[in-house]
Amino acid sequence: MQMSGAQMVCEAIIAEGVKTVFGYPGGAIMHVYDEIYKQNGFEHILNRHEQAAVHAADGYARATGEVGVAMVTSGPGFTNAVTGLATAYMDSIPLVVISGQVPLSLIGTDGFQEIDAVGISRPCTKHNFLVRTLEELPRILKEAFYIARSGRPGPVLVDIPKDITVGIGNFVYPDTVNIPTYKPTYKGNKKQIEKAVEAIKKAKKPLIYVGGGAVLSNASELVRQLAQKTQIPTVETLMARGVMGAKNPLLLGMLGMHGNYASNMAMSETDLIIALGARFDDRVTGKLSEFARYADIIHVDIDPANIAKLVDVDYPIVGDVYDVLENMIPLLENVNTDRYQAWREILKRYDALHPQSYVDSDEVLKPQWVIERVGELVGENAIITSDVGQHQMWAAQHYPFDRPRQWINSGGLGTMGFGFPAAIGAKRAFPEKTVINITGDGSILMNMQELVTAAEYKIPVINLILNNHFLGMVRQWQTFFYEKRYSQTDLTFQPNWKALAEACGGIGYDVETKEEFDAALKDAIRQDKVCFMNIAINRFENVLPMVPAGGALFNMMLPQSEEK
C-alpha cells in the first residue's frame, strides 16, 4: 500500500498491538502527529514533559510486560527523553522511542533543533537507528520492536528525519525479522543445567538469589516452584520484589545495602548461590572481596556479559530464567529437602534475632507504618510505583508485595521523578487497579507537571508524599558519614501541596495522624481524580539496616545500633 512515512509509523504501532502511546509533539515529528490525529488504532497521551512521556511508557511496559512506546520531537524533545531512555536501559525495560529529526539535507549543519540523537543515546539504548531512506523504515520499525522485547529487553530509539515522514512509498510491514548478527539464547545448555542440579543436591546451605530478570522473563511461578520443591531459602533484589510473594515462608526478604539481616547473612554464609536473572550489582554485593566467601555460584542470565562480570561463576548458564527453570525443576524431583533443614533453622534464628522492624510512635507518623498500612488497606490489589530515596527503600522493605509487576521502581539508574509518570503509565494499562506512587517531597517535584496530564485524562493516580522536609536519603548519609553537615538537603521551604494539586485539577490531602491517613486513603481510592497526599513523617527517620557503601554485606548498621 502507498502511504507516507508518517503513516507507516502509525501503521507499525497498530500492527504491534500497541494501545497507548505517550508523547509530545514538535516541528520535526509533526507529520507523524498529523497522522495520529487521523487514525483511531491507538490513543495518544500528551504528557507535559518528554521525560515523563518516556517514564509513562516505561511504567506501562513494566506493568504489562509489553513494549512501551513514546514519541518526541528532535533537539530538546529528544534530550528531555534521555533520562527516560537511561532509566529503562538500566532496568532492561522494553521500549520503542520514536524521535523526529531534522531533514536529511540538514543533518550535520547544526540545523534548528538538530542534535545527534543516535550519538547521545548510544550508551543508554539497547540499540538505535537513524532512518536514512523511506524504504528501510518498515523494516527498522519491525526490528526496533523485536530488539526491544527479545533477549535481554531494553529501549530502542528510532530517529526519523522529517523528510522521510513526508515521503510516499510502499508499505509492507514485515512478518518476520532476520538480523543475522542478533540471536539471543533462551534455552540453557542441558549439560550445564545438569551440573548445576548436581551442585544443588550436594550443597548444604544453598540460597536462591532472584533478580529483576525473573520478572522480565515472567518466571515468578517457576521460581516459586523451584523454592517449594527444594525448600531452599530465597532472597530477592530490589527489582525482584513480588516474585516470591510476601507470605511465602521460604522468602527471607530483600538483600543488599538496605536488605534485612537474615537475607544478608544468608548471602554471606551460603555455600551455593543460585542466581536467577540477577546481576551482582554493587548495591547488592557490598564489598566484593568479602561477598559470599564460601559460595559456589550458579548464574542463570540471558545476557552472557552479566555472567562473571563481577564475581567468578562456577556454573554459568546462559538462557532465559523461564526456559532454564522449566528444564531444571524436573531434574530436582527427588531432591532431599531435609538436607537443608539445619540451614533453614540457622536463617530462622537470624531473622528472629534481627527482624525487619521499626519503632512506631504515637506522636508522629512513621513512614514504615504508612507503608504497612497501605499494604493492609489495598494489599495485592494495588500497583505500587516509587521515586528514589528513603521512601523507596521503606516501600521495598515493608510493602507486602504479592506478585511480580506489582512493584515498579527505578532500580539501576535511581531516577528521582520516575514514580509519578510511571504510575500514570501503569494506571492506563490497568484502570481497574489502585495505583499508588510512594514518593518524597524532593522527588515528586521532578515531574509534578504530570498532575495536569493525570487530571486531563482522568488517570486517578494516588501520590503518597512521605514528607520529611528533606532530601532524606542524602540527609541520612550526611548524618552517618558527613558529621551532620546538612549541605543543601533541607527542604523546609515547601509548596502548599494541597493547593498545588488543586491548581492542576487534582485533589490534595494533608495528613498528620494515623486516623487522618486512613480516612484520606479511603477517600482517595474512591475519587476519580489524581491526588497529592502530603504525609508529615518523622523528619530524622533512617532507613535501616544499612550496609555502608563499600562495606561487607555482613557488617550492617541495625536499628539497635542507631539507638545506642
Binding site: V118, G119, R122, P123, K126, H127, L130, R132, I147, I179, P180, T181, Y182, S289, A292, R293, A295, D303, P304, A305, A308, K309, V311, D312
Partner: protein, 161 residues
Amino acid sequence: MGVEIMKDERRVISVIVMNESSVLARITALFAGRGYNIESLTVAPIPNSEMSHITIETKGNAKVMEQITKQLHKLIPVYKVIEHEEMVEKEMVLVKFPIAENLSDIAALCIAYNGGIVNVGKEMIIAQVADEPMRIQHFIEAAQRYNPCEIVRGGVVAIER
C-alpha cells in the same frame, strides 16, 4: 573464590560487523565508555560481503578481555568476535626521511624488514615496511638514527592460522 592478581596482556581481536553506518562509532564508544584500551584499530570491508573486518589491538587482564568480547557481542551489528590465539599479524608503517640522510643505509634497513623506499621527492624520501608489529617497533627504533621527520603506523591486521 580466591583473589588472583591478573596481569595486563596485549591481545588482538577481530570483530566482524555488519557494514552499516555508525557501527565503528558503536565500537569505539563501547571501549571509551567502559574504560577499555585501544592500542590500534583498523577497519575495512570484507570483499564480496556485507560485513567489515575490524582488528583491535588492546590491553587488559583476562577478566577485562572476557568482558570486552562479551560486550562487543552484545552490540546488535556485531556478527563475530575472534580473540586471536594462533594468528598471523602484520602492520604497516610509512616513514619520511630527509633526502640528505644516507639513502643506501636506509634502503638496506628497509629491505631487512621486508620493505623499501616507495617515494623520492625533492627534499624527502618515504620508506614503507610491512611486518610483524614487534619487528615494526624494532624498525622504528633503528630508523631513529636517520632523523625521520614523520612516522605513520597503520595499526595491526590479523588473521587466525
